[in-house]
């Protein structure tokens, strides 16, 4: 069964702080947007998830991401709001790709900014862990031995 072809949404073009998008993202641009939101920021933490070219002993050429777009974006927005409240962040950005991601390319970006480093680092860690548990996105690894949906890791 063919997965849908993902297209840029108007939201992505406006560079929203939270978005799903098929195209790669620029970490520099996301960090610039984060820094522009406040001059009180003393620490920024980032997490970039990348597509490995192997998994459980098999070569992986690419990963296909499927998502429930409306629910995924709503949940990502909720996560951002929760993180800002929980860790007293000045700002946070979450970008996740959908569609085909080649081995070596970026999958997800989490960027958090706070007055001090501890809050930024803790929030970044919390956000990626919660995203994996709560956001309806599924990945399928494409390998020479065939395709397989990934079972979530803790």
């Amino acid at each position: 069964m063919k997965l849908p072809s993902w297209q840029s949404s108007p939201v992505a073009e406006m560079r929203a702080a939270v978005r799903l998008q098929p195209e790669d993202f620029s970490v520099d641009e996301e960090l610039a947007a984060l820094r522009a939101s406040s001059k009180c920021m003393g620490g920024i933490a980032t997490f970039v998830g990348c597509a490995r070219d192997f998994s459980e002993g098999r070569a992986v050429s690419e990963i296909n991401f499927d998502a429930y777009p409306s629910m995924a974006e709503a949940e990502m927005k909720k996560l951002r709001a929760e993180a800002i409240e929980k860790f007293a962040l000045l700002d946070a950005r979450i970008v996740h790709r959908v569609g085909t991601v080649k081995a070596g390319d970026s999958i997800v970006l989490i960027a958090t900014g706070a007055e001090h480093r501890a809050a930024a680092l803790q929030a970044c860690h919390w956000l990626i862990d919660e995203l994996k548990k709560r956001v309806p996105i599924w990945k399928k690894e494409i390998t020479p031995q065939g395709d397989s949906w990934v079972t979530p890791h803790p």
Partner: protein, 79 residues
């Protein structure tokens, strides 16, 4: 009508990303699941989450309303 959505591994098992079902007064989430299972045996075995209109629920006796959107979802594996 009730719109039922499938994604990722569940869509692959069902062989479709969505289907429409006739709304009937009193119909529940369980009724929808039973209908799908009767046509696609074991397709819902990997379902861990169900959402009605973007809100997760575990209440299979939830009465549905016309134009509801239901998603049957496997465990998430994003990130």
């Amino acid at each position: 009508m009730i719109r039922v959505l499938f994604f990722g591994p569940v869509a692959e098992r069902v062989g479709s990303r969505d289907m429409q079902m006739q709304f009937e007064p009193g119909i529940t989430l369980q009724d929808i699941a039973t209908r799908i299972q009767s046509e696609h045996t074991s397709a819902l075995d990997i379902v861990s989450f169900i959402a009605v209109n973007n809100q997760q629920t575990r209440d299979m006796q939830l009465p549905l309303t016309d134009n509801d959107e239901i998603a049957f979802m496997a465990k998430f594996s994003g990130g």
